[in-house]
Amino acid sequence: MMSKLSVFSKGLLAENPVFVLVLGLCPVLAVTTSVENAIGMGVAATFVLVMSNALISLLRNLIPAKIRIPSFIVVIASFVTIVELVMHGYLPKLYEQLGIFVPLIVVNCIILGRAEAFASKNTLLDSILDGLGMGAGFLIALVVIGGSRELLGTNKLMGYQVFDLEGGILGFLHLKPIAIMTLAPGGFLVLGFILALLNWSKTWRKKAEE
């Protein structure tokens, strides 16, 4: 039986939904054009994940097995609609930036996947912790990728310039931001390199243990 802490923390690194389970890819590449959008999407998705995990866990003994997937979808879609309306009303700029990916949270494989694999078989507290952990892992992944793309693509983080490319050594090298990182290909390339980096750290760690 897992400890409460590990139920939460496994979603952060060991079973990180994006980097290890490779789920929920569509929003990851689409909204990580800047750290701000990444945080917005991460928080929205975590909210839906935690709430739907909680409700599905509460109802787990009442939902007949044959219609469980449509039932999960109804629950998840309801919370997504709530998020959509709240964001549209109170954070219109973020809502416009995230665009079509706000309603698409409903088909985020992470949320349906955790409902099926965990929330439908575990207690309320465990499901909430799992939701928080997976959501936090998702948020971390989004921020890492978003940060990389924003930094490499526009030399800014959260809108603030990072490196001074005019004077000094960097100016001498005539470096410029790599604009393609904020466009579609950048998402694929950054994710590919991060996954390669994680593979490398795994083999390096295995060699260190030998």
Partner: protein, 197 residues
């Protein structure tokens, strides 16, 4: 059809397949893109299933949006009704195909349930509404988006089949190299940007 309409529809087709390719430009449908694109024949099967479901879903969801949601003043229920409609549609299509053509069912069978939670189908349905298209235009966009998805899938499968027998650095093996390849394909498709009639 008037000349303007044909021009409009052609622009939609070119845009959905190349300029705004669902996978390589809009990032929709990535899970099956990475998961199913290991072999060209399974990629083709998945693509056919997606084209079919996307076109049907475009038709049904458009009707629901304009004749139910807007008439009763409940546009905010769009997400819920659309996803339930798509889930039901896929279930129904699976049953019909199983009865009518068991051969086709065996060819497509396992891919159909996977399509329900595919962001590509829901994405296409919502895009038809946000682009404010008419019924015929929505159908055309749904169909063409599916074709674009299939195109990207087949291209990816062809490349990955070659990659299997090539020397790939060990850290890159598997997913990393697949994403780098997708990135390069995406750069190629960027070349279509700014293409208009």
């Amino acid at each position: 059809m008037k000349r303007m309409e044909i021009q409009h529809l052609t622009a939609i087709i070119i845009s959905s397949i190349f300029v705004n390719n669902f996978v390589l430009a809009r990032f929709l449908g990535l899970c099956p893109f990475i998961g199913v694109s290991k072999r060209v024949d399974s990629a083709l099967g998945m693509g056919m299933a997606v084209i079919f479901v996307m076109t049907m879903a475009s038709l049904v969801t458009w009707i629901i949006q304009h004749y139910i949601l807007e008439v009763f003043g409940i546009p905010y229920l769009r997400t819920i009704t659309f996803i339930l409609t798509i889930a039901t549609l896929v279930q129904f299509v699976e049953m019909v195909i199983q009865k009518v053509s068991p051969n086709l069912y065996n060819a497509l069978g396992i891919y159909l349930p996977l399509i329900t939670t595919n962001c590509a189908v829901l994405g296409a349905a919502i895009l038809n509404i946000t682009d404010e298209l008419g019924l015929i235009a929505s159908l055309v966009q749904g169909f063409a988006s599916g074709v674009g998805f299939t195109l990207a899938l087949i291209l990816m499968a062809g490349i990955r089949q070659r990659l299997e027998v090539s020397h790939v650095p060990k850290v890159m093996d598997g997913l990393p190299i697949a994403f780098i390849v997708a990135g390069l394909m995406s750069i190629a498709f960027l070349g279509f940007a700014g293409f208009s009639f």
